[in-house]
Amino acid sequence: MQTLEPILAQIPLFQGMRPEHLKLIAGCASNARFDAGQFIGRQGEPADKFWIVRQGRVALEIHAPGRGALTIMTVAENEVLGWSWLLAPHQWHFDAYALTATRAIALDGKCLRGKFASDHELGYELMSRFSQLIVQRLEATNLQLLDLYGDHD
């Protein structure tokens, strides 16, 4: 059976990773498909996976009382969807649904966490990469809060 290792090696999140680590990660990876409009995760539900979008687009949505649903971010090709699998209580913070027909690689969080227990280096490596990703997303959120396109005296 063909493994997903060579594809994972091309994805920015995993670039430059040691081959033995990529092999372990590929052991927890599978292909996934979502139809346009299909929910991938819902706020409060258990989050035991993350995805790398290969083709298509996913929206992250929050529901504000009295204001309805608001899309706050989209995830596009080669980008990562979901980090709650890594951090307790492993629950979705947002709703995520496919805006268009989407192909993705699903990574099983439980499987990965199991591997971290016996390979701390792998755990450290992935944790560092996700921390960077979380910081980037936090920065982007800060900029959204600053209302970049308004007039600032």
């Binding site: 309805g68 899309t71 989209t74 805006l99 600053l146 209302d147 396109y149 600032h152």
Partner: protein, 289 residues
Amino acid sequence: MATTTEDAGPPGPAGGDPMRPAPFRVARRVVETHDVFTLWLEPVGGPGGFSSQPGQFDMLYAFGAGEVPVSLSGPPGPVKQVVHTIRAVGPVTQSLQRLKRGDVVGLRGPFGSAWPVSLAEGSDVVLVAGGIGLAPLRPALYHVLSQRERYGRIVLLYGARTPRDILFAREIETWRGRFDADVEVVVDRAAPGWHGLVGVVTTLVPRAHFDPHNAVAFVCGPELMMTFTVRALAHHGVVPARTWVSLERNMKCAVGFCGHCQLGPTFICRDGPVYRWDRVAPLLGVREL
């Protein structure tokens, strides 16, 4: 056609007294969004010569209200009608918003420095616009698309607050339909039904297809947006010395007399509004990238 060079300096108005507005009639008016509109203006009393370079601005005088600087948003070079896209934010711009076809405004210009489109020849050109900033960049896009063979990749990255704030939506669709330009639009937030990207414009930079080591970037929007965009571009490999911004701080005389728009040793109306980032960043109090 007008040429532009790096530091082209202030080309100045087409002739006559730069302080005296000439009467221009509204030939056409289009509502772009809930607070943005475009005016096509032609000289009262027949065709006069009007030619501008991409990035330059005019002083528009709304009688009884006052005068404001507004960038040209139409095709550069010699034209019969002068095009301006304006966001109504205060007394003068609101008064311009109320103008109808046939009404008259005063116009002085064009003034100021230009996007260095000649210097960008042979390079990839990345235009990054935020909000109303797409209007001053549009002439540069018209220019590079009209001289397509002289440039490498052409990329337009545009960020707006919400889908209803997107300027020139139909034209963006046309640019997107071309096979020789990459156009990405992102909004800060959207209600369900929007199928485009959501996030800040800076997140488009690493996704875009261009060679950062052979690219020239033109950035236009509020100063905060430009600062963060230049940072994202630099992080991606576009050096600040290959990045230009347009500073749209308020001004009065437009010809370097009154000092209203003075920024350190430079007068934005005379030496700007288009500046190379590494030259102007220290004056804006931006720490080194």
